[in-house]
Amino acid sequence: MSSVEPKDNRDLVALRELEPVEAPPEVVARVRRQAHAELEVVREGDWLTRASRAWNRVGLPAALTVVVVGYLSWAVGAASALYQ
């Protein structure tokens, strides 16, 4: 620890007076542009994720059900036709 101790909070108050520093305008614009592109990827990714989840949870079981029920109907119909 240093031998010099601040006697009050003046140093912290002085630090609070330091202003924000803007990046150069071209950097500000470039980062904004790239961030918007990232957000678009995120939104598309999010849409794909939601669609894929919906397909796995609802679409796929529904399609399987339709196929199974359809096949059973056909099988029962075919069997009864043969029997008659």
């Binding site: 620890m1 240093s2 031998s3 010099v4 101790e5 601040p6 140093d11 912290l12 002085a14 630090l15 609070r16 007076e17 330091l18 202003e19 924000p20 520093v21 803007e22 990046a23 150069p24 950097v27 500000v28 470039r30 980062v31 904004r32 790239q34 961030a35 918007h36 990232e38 957000l39 678009e40 995120v42 939104r43 999010d46």
Partner: protein, 189 residues
């Protein structure tokens, strides 16, 4: 310190809305860039880390928690980016670099004499800050310049509250010492 008006912004960011990003960017870009510039002392590195910080915000927008404190999140990411950069560069930048004279703003007082005095004070403070060890500089920037409370700053730095208090006391003493040194040098010049 969390701003309650940020909640809708966080919600919109989680939905990936570009306008929400713009609002956050407008609110924090000067503070984050100033923080990084003062932390690393190099304009080019500060700009790279600034870009990394905000692109990370865009990439992670949907994963943000509903109650995210954006200021704390951004400063933590910025600080971690700087730590990572330092680790890679394997150098203590604070020993090598002096802040560029035109990198930081001059004080903005109405009267020309007062403005000159204020600008000198700010420059003295900036130079003293830049000459401190990195660990001291980051704690002074977070608590002193950015006004985070000490518990928040401890969480952001990944250290315990008591350790932060010790580090802050040491940093303030070093700053006072540096300011004394700077003033003595100027008086002798």
């Amino acid at each position: 310190m969390r701003d309650p008006t940020e909640r809708p912004l966080v919600d919109a960011l989680r939905r990936g809305e570009a306008s929400a990003f713009d609002a956050v960017y407008g609110r924090y870009r000067g503070r984050i860039h100033g923080f990084l510039l003062r932390l690393c002392g190099r304009r080019d590195v500060a700009e790279d880390l600034f870009q990394e910080t905000f692109l990370k915000l865009a990439r992670n927008a949907p994963k943000l928690d509903e109650d995210t404190d954006l200021a704390a999140w951004l400063f933590t990411v910025a600080r971690n980016a700087w730590v990572s950069h330092r680790r890679w560069s394997m150098l203590d930048i604070s020993r090598l670099v002096v802040l560029e004279d035109d990198a930081l703003p001059a004080a903005n007082a109405p009267d020309p004499d007062a403005r000159a005095d204020a600008a000198r004070d700010v420059e003295r403070l900036e130079r003293a800050l830049a000459a401190l060890p990195a660990a001291s500089r980051e704690v002074l920037l977070l608590v002193g310049v950015e006004g985070f409370d000490q518990e928040q700053a401890a969480a952001m730095l990944g250290i315990k509250y008591d350790a932060l208090r010790q580090r802050l006391a040491r940093a303030r003493a070093q700053l006072a010492e540096r300011l004394g040194m700077v003033e003595t040098k100027e008086a002798l010049a």
